[in-house]
Point group: C2
Chain length 297, copies 2
């Protein structure tokens, strides 16, 4: 299940509430496009900014509108107690899998992170995807720790934060991790700019931000790479370089993709929770021009 | 009010509940020692791991047992919406001031952080202390941003994360910041190992972790430095070097101080919220030996 394109939709919201109708529309677009799975309440889904009740509601909405598409639900929280409660909620909502990052306030030690995955995996009845995202969690997994966690019961996939840009180095990086994890555990790349390189290097999945808003574009890259048409996948990704440049410029993908959703009329501005802000003024116009040029507007 | 020794007590807890009796005992020790203020629900008080209701309860307990000692209550959260709610709760509990860090999941931009302080300070009727702690928030304040935020109404103090070890460089660092903030805004040092140097360099306050557990020890350093007895303050701090070494070794002060509270019988083990863990085995014995040597056991 945790292979191919896993598309992560935004959770549009403002200071009053979640825009549930907008979220459902985003999910329905993903189903219509035929993505392989939907990742609700990932970083792109702003899980960290929502209450337990809001997260349970979003999990239920995602499953209710996903049809036959498996839904992976993010259950990360600072405290193990809260992760366990969110895991229960996600399973009760009908999640096909859960996604867990070692979210931190106090920087975490390796044994603390292992203990978290050990405690949570022991209580799950659906597969778990390990979410390695140092840009938001500030925790650096060693490959050795990935290997120990991947051997826990129920661990089914690892979402890695990117691969080296050079293809041979990317293949080596994926092979090194693959050698340390059980054969049934899939490896998925994230960091959209790295996706084609990662898939070409042997990643089984792409956990994708742009897949949540532009599913056809992300599917074309995924299908090409998974069918062995590596040059096509690379070319399709390189075409999107103006978008990757904006991701780098704005400290990641979230503000750019949320602004794009607003520009496309798929979310009401403001769609991010304060203190986060979508792009304004000239930066917003620049994004609009890039979307136009790329045929994404 | 935001001068001298501000002592930050732990909030002992386990997976079931907060140990309210232990928290109250810690507060009462601080009052008996005569600290200048009490900082409830700072990083040492594990604010980030507690629910809104738990935080309101701790704020009320702190004020109820603090007598005439002013209580500063931490109101940080990932989302502005939640910070505003926590600010209301803290004021309703009787806090004399609030402490706000730019806690982050998505790394924050300067304008987002300024917007947070602008929104919160506009809604406060008690003074606000800016909490600059990149080790947990991963946000780096520029001095220029400190200056802009310090000019907002109600901003009364800045808690800085340390100073250079060399006295002249420390004086220069404090003077540079002082020149950018209004004269009534105090500057407080944190990072206990830097406290004597920071106070000698002209900081008005020490926002202190060890002050929350060993108030007499921290008061002696504070009183010496504030009275101009710089060499005495430095010597008293250097005597604690084995403790500072353990802070460095264990990724900060929290795990060490929580373990010390357990060793002293002031908190039941485990006293930290999972996934965080206090020291075990040989590391715990090493701390016990250090406390014994320093006369803190």
């Amino acid at each position: 299940m945790l292979t191919g394109l896993s598309a992560f939709p935004l959770t549009p919201m403002n200071e009053s509430a979640i825009d549930e109708a907008a979220f459902v529309r985003l999910v329905e677009r993903l189903v219509a496009a035929g993505v392989d799975s939907i990742g609700a309440l990932g970083s792109t889904g702003n899980y960290a900014y929502l209450s337990r009740e809001e997260r349970a509601r979003i999990a239920r909405l995602a499953v209710a509108h996903a049809g036959d598409v498996p839904v992976i639900v993010g259950i990360s929280a600072l405290r193990t107690r809260d992760v366990l409660a969110l895991a229960e909620d996600a399973q009760a909502a009908g999640a096909s899998a859960v996604l867990l990052a070692p979210m931190s306030y106090q920087p975490l030690a390796d044994e603390e992170v292992f203990g978290l995955y050990e405690a949570v995996s022991a209580r799950l009845s659906v597969p778990l995807c390990v979410y390695d995202n140092p840009g938001t969690t500030r925790f650096q997994f060693s490959d050795e720790l990935h290997g120990r966690i991947a051997a826990l019961p129920g661990v089914a996939s690892i979402k890695i934060p990117g691969v080296p840009a050079e293809p041979a180095a990317a293949r080596e990086r994926v092979a090194r991790l693959r050698a340390l994890v059980p054969p049934e555990v899939t490896i998925g790349v994230s960091g959209d700019a790295f996706a084609a390189t990662g898939l070409n290097a042997g990643c089984d999945a792409w956990y994708s931000v742009i897949g949540g808003l532009f599913p056809e574009t992300a599917l074309a890259i995924t299908r090409a790479a998974r069918a062995g048409r590596q040059e096509e996948a690379t070319a399709l990704s390189q075409r999107l370089e103006p978008l990757w440049a904006l991701f780098r410029q704005h400290g990641g993908s979230l503000r750019v993709v949320a602004t794009a959703a607003e520009l496309l009329g798929l979310a009401e501005p403001p769609s991010l929770p304060l203190p986060l802000r979508t792009l304004a003024g000239q930066e917003r116009q620049q994004l609009a021009a890039v979307l136009e040029t790329l045929g994404l507007a």
